[in-house]
Symmetry: C2
């Protein structure tokens, strides 16, 4: 019986430009780690939060990882408690799915300590409870790819269905995080409550083209469809230099470039041979706007959150 | 050198419920035929219109088939003229893509008379010129599946890209046309100019799920995604008994049921073993609302418009 387990959960790019609130993919090069020890006391507590932790609360009910494990604990009643050490690799307010990653790493680690582990779909729902703490509503476009890996589509909220979409081989994600904070709530609050019918049709065509291109290995169709005409135009001014970064990525050979989640991180899809050039161009463009940044080049075909030490 | 050619073009189901203005599929069991003879006079003229022709204009510039062939004639300057006999199999104002079928059959027939036939994409654009006569704007969600066959996605208008989406084997389309007329312009005029953001997200998930389900043979996902939350709720009251017809189709085992194009025809997707029961249930439901109807059960994997006699 395991008593001490550490799980890793990757950063994620939600929306993927054209799939607002429904698409997301994992970025395996960066993520959060949660170590959980089995304790006698029948409770959930947080012992430490380290890494790029900022001002995260240590009260379990106010912490995304703590709240997710509390939901799991309350539902499954394992007869013992959990003590968490959270190691943040994902910066707060970055648009890289940090709250989802902490919640998912926590439930994956806790699950490994159970006599009868829960199914993935149940873990998804526990992690969603944690996400509510962070964003105020139950979005799963970060949680699903974080838990399952790869590129995921989620249909439905109450009974979410997660579908993994194939990503053409040879593609990489370039993720660039400029050093600034942007709150998810703020980035959501500026969005119009309505969408024009013509923009809805245009975006639909792009979404359908993107999904179709992924299934059929049609990189040209992916590139032509990789154009968010609804959310990006409303949000990009929150990110200094976004348009320059996007132009730089495209000029360097990216298939598409948009805002990761609610930003300020910006991501691009690129053929492997252009990925380093795309990364360099994006970092340089942010630097011209006086923003230093971290950056990663990652596969998108991966296995999601997993136990890394037991 | 051919001098007398007849082409067939199938009826089409535009929108396919969740893909407003971008998806469409062919229904090979019913369609229009256009016979074209080469004439010495360097002009385009219509000799006859037969079948379920209603009040269609015989002036070429006011007729969808005539206008499409005029556009072709003006662009390609073949040095001779075309005389058309149009045989309508598709009722006017039915939502079954009749204007597209006449235009497509005409350009396919005319193309077979040319020394240097035009490419499919060029035929698509000529047929669009004809569609403008009928609907007032250049929609290609009927024209693309009519010309290419199968289930098609169109991305872009000025430089349309047509992508064929695979339809899982063993599925059939049930198409039921109640005997009433509904104008496309009227059915468009009632649509709201805006869509709520939450409906847009919901519909996006359904569209992406539908496309994904088609590629991955996931009938359960197709069924769960087959739900138009934007257009159908605004239009269904134009069709007496629509909700009863839809319920009847679903109870008989359909995967999904919605309005064909702008209606009043209603279509359902169904596994082959339930297709006849679905058809019977839909026809009976319309009859309870005092509407007689014609109905067809069709494959969706077909080859689109084609020369049938030369």
């Amino acid at each position: 019986m395991l008593t001490d387990v550490t799980a890793f959960a990757p950063a994620t790019v939600a929306n993927v430009g054209i799939g607002f609130d429904i698409l997301g993919h994992a970025v395996d090069e960066v993520g959060d780690r949660v170590r959980i020890r089995r304790i006698e006391e029948n409770e959930v507590r947080i012992r430490s939060i380290t890494g790029v932790a900022g001002e995260l609360p240590v009260e379990p009910q106010a912490n995304t990882a703590g709240r997710a494990v509390q939901a799991m604990h309350a539902t499954l009643s394992p007869g013992f408690g959990f003590e968490l050490d959270i190691e943040k690799g994902i910066p707060l307010g970055s648009g890289m799915g940090g709250s989802a990653a902490s919640a998912v790493a926590a439930v994956v680690a806790a699950n490994a300590l159970l006599h009868a582990p829960a199914a993935q779909l149940q873990l998804l729902k526990f992690a969603m409870e944690g996400e509510i703490v962070a964003s105020g509503s139950a979005h799963i476009d970060n949680i699903a790819p974080c838990l399952y890996g790869g590129l995921t589509l989620t249909v439905g909220i109450d009974n979410p269905r997660v579908k993994q979409i194939p990503v053409p081989r040879g593609l990489r994600c370039v993720l660039v995080h400029p050093h600034m904070y942007l709150g998810t709530r703020e980035a959501r609050a500026i969005l119009n409550i309505n969408v024009s019918r013509s923009d809805y049709v245009w975006q639909s065509a792009n979404l359908a083209g993107f999904i179709s291109g992924c299934y059929s290995n049609d990189l040209e169709l992916i590139r032509d469809s990789f154009n968010d005409v609804i959310i990006e135009p409303q949000r990009h001014s929150l990110i200094p230099g976004f348009k320059d970064v996007q132009r730089a990525a495209m000029s360097a050979g990216a298939l598409g470039c948009s805002i990761s989640g609610a930003g300020p991180a910006v991501f691009a899809w690129s053929a492997i041979q252009h990925a380093e050039a795309v990364r360099g161009a994006m970092v340089a463009a942010f630097a011209r706007h006086d923003l230093q940044s971290d950056s990663w080049v990652s596969l998108m075909q991966n296995y999601g959150a997993r136990v890394v030490k037991a």
